[in-house]
Symmetry: C2
Subunit: 203 residues, 2 copies
């Protein structure tokens, strides 16, 4: 049935949901095809191999987040305001695709040497952009002194881990899905307060 160009998009969307929403990181091409309701050979027709499909889906998902984050830190907002916005964007984004963080980690752990340009550039830039801003903020006396590496590590840890380890924390705190969603929303405030030792400004 001539689905126009839709089949390719359908496969991508299905794969993205299977991988990054449902967390079925080991899903076979057959499972993806079944869930998309298409013949398995079409996956190879459009993407050559399972790995290339994964690559495409992943890069597209990353690109979307990347530019949002970059825009924040390249703006001329006050530093603390940038962190607030980062928390908003990052947590909301990764709540939609809870297993993406997990995927990144697993993949990089599996091929630590593989040059993932998209990710590396993102991270290098992030550091180059943030480190000076952070040191400036400390010099101004707006926050306690801290090595930039540790500040970033703290920030990323407190954002990412509760997303990566959702099943662990959710069970540990006996929260249902709605409860965990609320918990993640609260974290925006909590992380800000933990990093700066002061409540975030009201909107």
């Amino acid at each position: 049935m001539g689905d126009l160009v839709e089949t390719e998009q359908l496969i991508k969307k299905t794969a993205r949901d299977i991988f990054f929403q449902k967390g079925r990181l080991k899903a076979t091409t057959q499972e993806i095809a079944d869930e998309a309701g298409v013949n398995r050979a079409l996956i190879h027709y459009y993407f050559r191999s399972r790995e290339q499909l994964l690559q495409v889906v992943f890069e597209e998902a990353v690109a979307e987040t990347r530019q949002k984050i970059a825009a924040i830190f390249e703006s001329d907002l006050p530093f603390k305001k940038k962190i607030s916005q980062y928390l908003d964007v990052f947590i909301d984004r990764n709540f939609r695709y809870p297993y993406m963080q997990n995927f990144i980690i697993t993949e990089i752990n599996q091929n630590p040497d593989k040059e993932d340009d998209y990710l590396n550039k993102k991270r290098e830039n992030l550091c180059r952009t943030i480190f000076p801003q952070l040191n400036e903020e400390i010099k101004k006396g707006n926050m306690a002194p801290v090595k930039p590496e540790h500040f970033i590590a703290n920030l990323m840890s407190m954002c990412s881990y509760p997303l990566v380890a959702k099943p662990i924390l959710q069970r540990m705190f006996a929260l249902d899905d709605d409860g965990y969603k609320t918990f993640l929303q609260e974290r925006k405030q909590v992380i800000y307060k933990t990093l700066f030792n002061e409540a975030p400004p009201k909107e």
Copy 2:
């Protein structure tokens, strides 16, 4: 060659190193056998299946950490001292097996419904033990008020994430293996300071 009971131990040790030190979570039985220098069939002879080997190796590794942590929080040290010790034990332990955190997360994500008794009990107990101690500490005015869930989330996040995401942070901060080791050691102080907004007491 009659290796006494040693073969079984050798397989376990090899598997543990492959899985939890080297992070080769997808290692086949053949790879494990080769690295142990034994015939692959012996893995099935001793452990029936690849999965059961994994299970055994994992449980043994977890049990070791579990009791150390439990002992700390069941002691009658001051609360902040407990956190200090937790940081020491947890970070050192997981530095030896950097991929264990990662493994736990991947496994639980893959079978979120599977009743992993060993892990669940550990976590439930941890919560039951820590929450009252934490609230007590707040009531005494020794630390800023915070919901226990968020405090635990912060603590676990800042400990675990840099271990789980080692390849990411290591590259991001351009650290070699020694540099990253130092970084992790520094984190013990940094996390304490971030949680309590005061430097940890000297030893």
